[in-house]
């Protein structure tokens, strides 16, 4: 007669020993020098899946839109939507630049290297000689860590610490790990990531904390004047938009106000970004076809 579940001691011991070995192996893989190689291998396996997924997504989009009209119309529509997103982001950048311009005029002339990405009906080109366009292989929404995998790596002279922007000029995060053909980007909006920013036209220095999905939270004394729509930018010679104030929560009993920020970038539909390879001699900027 068979013994009931987990009363056969030998079998239990056998299962438990394998369980412990598996756990130890898992931890050893993560906390040993093997991990980067393991990452590279898993990324190499994942890339064809992501490429197939993107291809199937594009086929589905073409098919679903094609039912309503021609393929040309579908491509044009897709390109226009991409451009619209970028232009909306650039609108926030323009406000930021105008404020900076006023400040500089009041003091003295100062040259900045602010440039925007160039767009045509079907291409996106990263701005400047140091930037390189990249396709987002894995969007942050799939990841618990708010990370993003992009299709440029050490082969394209990308290094850890390089900053990653949307094509509208909004800063998204920075490259953390670089592999041959891919890189992992950790977003500034990842949970518990702290970033110091200048807030509004008065450039109040504030530490914002990432809250996931392109949102940030900051606490400020109630007396500090903040209004909805104020831009939060990274402190730098070149003004770099991170997010804008979406809502403010004030309580009479609390001496602090809670500011909620939102990035103008829609992380759920992010397809292209560019990496700013700071101060390195690099090749000409790379353009991406937005209709492919």
């Amino acid at each position: 007669m068979k013994k009931p579940y987990l009363q056969n001691r030998e079998t239990v011991r056998w299962y438990q020993s394998w369980s412990v070995i598996l756990m130890l192996l898992a931890l050893a893989a993560l906390f040993s020098p093997v991990r980067p190689y393991l990452s590279q291998t898993v990324l190499a396996v994942a890339q064809p899946f992501w490429a197939t997924g993107k291809f199937l997504g594009a086929v589905y989009n073409s098919f679903s839109i094609g039912i309503k009209g021609t393929k040309t119309l579908a491509d044009e529509n897709q390109a226009l939507r991409s451009r619209q997103t970028i232009l909306e982001e650039q609108l926030h950048m323009v406000t930021l630049l105008a404020n900076e311009n006023n400040d500089l005029k009041a003091l003295l002339s100062r040259v900045t290297d602010t440039t925007f990405a160039s767009t045509t009906s079907d291409t996106l080109c990263a701005p400047g000689d140091h930037a390189i366009g990249a396709i987002v292989l894995s969007a942050p929404r799939e990841s618990y860590y708010s990370s993003m995998i992009i299709d440029v790596g050490s082969r394209d002279m990308v290094l850890p610490g390089d900053m990653v922007y949307s094509f509208g000029g909004t800063v998204l995060g920075e490259v953390r790990d670089v592999y041959t053909t891919t890189a992992r980007v950790i977003l500034y909006s990842a949970a518990q990531v702290s970033t110091t920013v200048f807030l509004g036209p008065t450039h109040v220095s504030v530490t914002v904390v990432g809250d996931g999905d392109g949102t940030f939270i900051a606490k400020l004394p109630r007396d500090v004047a903040v209004k909805i729509g104020d831009e939060a930018s990274l402190p730098s010679v070149r003004p770099t938009l991170l997010a804008f104030v979406q809502s403010i929560k004030k309580d009479e009993a609390n001496p602090f106000q809670t500011i909620y920020f939102k990035s103008p970038v829609n992380f759920r539909s992010l397809k292209w970004v560019y990496v700013n390879r700071t101060s390195r001699l690099v090749t000409s900027p790379r353009c991406l076809r937005v209709t492919s």
Binding site: Y5, M23, A26, S39, W50, R141, E142, Y144
Partner: protein, 93 residues
């Protein structure tokens, strides 16, 4: 056994395409449904090496694996205490 294979393939694809909470839900369900679902730890390691940074604290690099080991042990304890799926698993042995 076929259902287990299907779930494994689904979870593997989910790691690449689905939101993290959906993958977490699927592997936890697999832990309760199937006998000694080792795949919980295997998938967690894949998830961590794919998405987590290699630098930083444990909570930035390996949180999925840590949680999966805890979940694996807890699920086994629950199955032991409540004799979940007793007949089905006895037959497998």
């Amino acid at each position: 056994m076929l259902a287990r294979y299907f779930l494994d393939i689904g979870v593997l694809l989910g790691i690449f395409f689905a939101p993290w909470w959906l993958v977490a839900g699927a592997v936890l369900a697999g832990g309760f449904i199937f006998s000694t679902y080792y795949e919980i730890i295997f998938f967690a390691v894949i998830y961590d090496v794919l998405y987590a940074s290699t630098t930083g604290t444990v909570w930035h690099t390996s949180v999925y694996t840590i949680y999966s080991i805890i979940a694996f042990v807890l699920i086994r304890m629950l199955r032991y205490n409540f004799n979940l799926h007793e007949k089905k698993i006895t037959r497998q042995w």
